[in-house]
């Protein structure tokens, strides 16, 4: 009797969680189905979930309306380069902070935490002023350095908790053997911290790739990222919802795939750090 009851309970849990998953994926599935509809069916009345015929019309409309390929390349280059800079500089700085007992390091931690809280929308315009003064308006370089700067506090915050999980005796041993701080960091600490680096890098990559506000302000023609390209459809008429869906799909599909693969890695990285601590 009890086994029957618990079996029933188990099936109910499975059914409810499947329903939840389906419900949660519905908006994204609707986006996919909309982007493969013919343009006119996206705005058909009444709205239908399934397309009656498949069509790539929206995709060709997308590429003729906005420079999608160039925008995609810009997004990718800016996200990757800024991630590399942010991870290198952030992990270096946070290593020194976590291994120094000086009062200064506590102050720096508080500073970093405060910088992490700053809403981008409020500092966007002074940043615009600085970038135009440097003569970098509408260049990829501008986006790369600004993304890097904004994401460094995040990297540092993530890495400090990872470094704290590594026993200081390792550093001390290296120090006694005469290794310099930089050598210890590069040859001993970094290899152990690869899961942490991966976690920080993946999140930074997504933050830069998904950014909209900074790119909206700092670019106009040459360096526009894909999100800014997509926003061109916002002010347009309902007829353009088709290409907009196609764009949103192209933009988010690689991210979804990467997220599914990286997910295992993130979880593994996180648990590894926790166990060592």
């Amino acid at each position: 009797m009890t086994t029957l009851k618990s079996k029933m309970g188990k099936y109910i849990v499975i059914i409810i969680s499947l329903a939840f998953a389906l419900f949660w994926l519905f908006p994204y599935l609707y986006l996919i189905s909309s982007s493969f509809k013919p343009g006119s069916q996206v705005v058909s009345i009444p709205a239908k979930f399934f397309p009656t015929q498949l069509s790539l019309e929206n995709f060709s409309a997308l590429f003729s309306r906005i420079p999608a390929a160039q925008d995609m390349a810009n997004s990718l280059i800016c996200a990757v380069c800024s991630t590399i800079i942010a991870v290198i500089l952030g992990s270096l700085a946070s290593y020194a902070i976590s291994r120094s007992g000086a009062k200064l390091s506590v102050m720096l931690v508080v500073l970093v935490l405060c910088l992490k809280m700053i809403p981008t929308s409020s500092i966007a315009v002074p940043i615009y002023g600085i970038i135009t003064n440097m003569g970098l308006y509408d260049t990829r370089t501008a986006l790369i350095i600004v993304y890097a700067a904004i994401n460094i506090p995040f990297v540092m915050w993530t890495m400090i908790s990872f470094y704290q999980g590594i026993p200081m005796s390792l550093d001390e041993a290296a120090c006694v053997d005469g290794a310099s701080n930089f050598y210890t960091f590069r040859k001993i600490i970094l290899p152990i911290c690869m899961p942490g680096i991966a976690t920080a890098a993946i999140f930074t990559l997504f933050l830069a790739w998904n950014d909209f506000l900074i790119s909206l302000l700092l670019t106009s023609i040459n360096a526009t990222t894909f999100t800014v390209g997509l926003s061109a459809f916002l002010s347009a008429y309902s007829m353009d919802l088709g290409p907009m869906c196609a764009g949103a799909f192209i933009f988010s599909f690689p991210v979804m795939i990467l997220a599914i693969f990286a997910q295992k890695y993130i979880v593994r990285g996180m648990t590894a750090g926790a166990v060592k601590g």
Binding site: L25, R99, S100, P119, P126, I130, N210
Partner: protein, 298 residues
Amino acid sequence: MRIVSRRTLIMFFLPGGIFMGVFLVCPILKMAIDSFYTFDLTGVKSFVGLDNYIKAFTTASFLTPLINTLKYIIIAVTAELCIGLIMALLFEHEYKGNKIVRSLILTPLMIAPLVAGLIWKLMLSAQFGIINQILKNIHIIKDTNSILWLADGKWALLSCAFADIWLTTPFMMLMILAGLQGVDSSMIEAARIDGANKLQQIFWIKMPNIKPVLLTALSIRIIDAARTFDIIWAMTQGGPNNSSEMISVVIYRTLTRYNQVGYASAMAVIFVIILIVFTLVFMQSLWNPKKNYEGGKS
């Protein structure tokens, strides 16, 4: 033994520090200074003292977005916490294939907020939106024009919150799930033997034990929700009639459309101070183990 000397600390911190100094600290300082000035059309600035701050606290152009932001946080974060908790408790159960279902549900996590806004804008549009069509088909509303989600001031903010909830509930679930997996299973076993039913186990054993995780997740979400810009911009741009205007949107608009640098800076300074005070207070209560313990008992 101090491994890293003060000099090395500064040398290691400096490269990243320069980046942060130029693009984070400088803008903040500039913002703080600008907030005491007004700028005329030619760019000449004149000192006005606290006028901008007084203006912010006495006019609806700042107070309405402030209240909207609070409403948005309360709606979105409460919903995320409740749904996230239910999901975590569901996905805690192990069965064949539950990992796959779990990773599927986590996928919205990495979608751009702008894209989430666009998807929900499409789904919530009045005539050709699928949400109203579904509501009509199950006879909750008579006509697809009965609820104008994005064009009606009553619903606009809630509609934007939908996109936020969809986007970030998986994060909440992930955090809570991580907390639940850390709960000592022998405690639950003991409670079960003592005759506690499932609900009692959840409320008296699991919930108090994951309280630190819950608080961390809550603080992260509250700050993120307060800073929301992309979703609002994609869905309503603050309209109709400022009904979904949030602080970040109003700051951006004041700067770029109306070019009132001084006033916008004052609003931004107030906003940043609120966020930092909130964070520090929250973090302190979180890092105080004694408090946590007492909280856990209650």
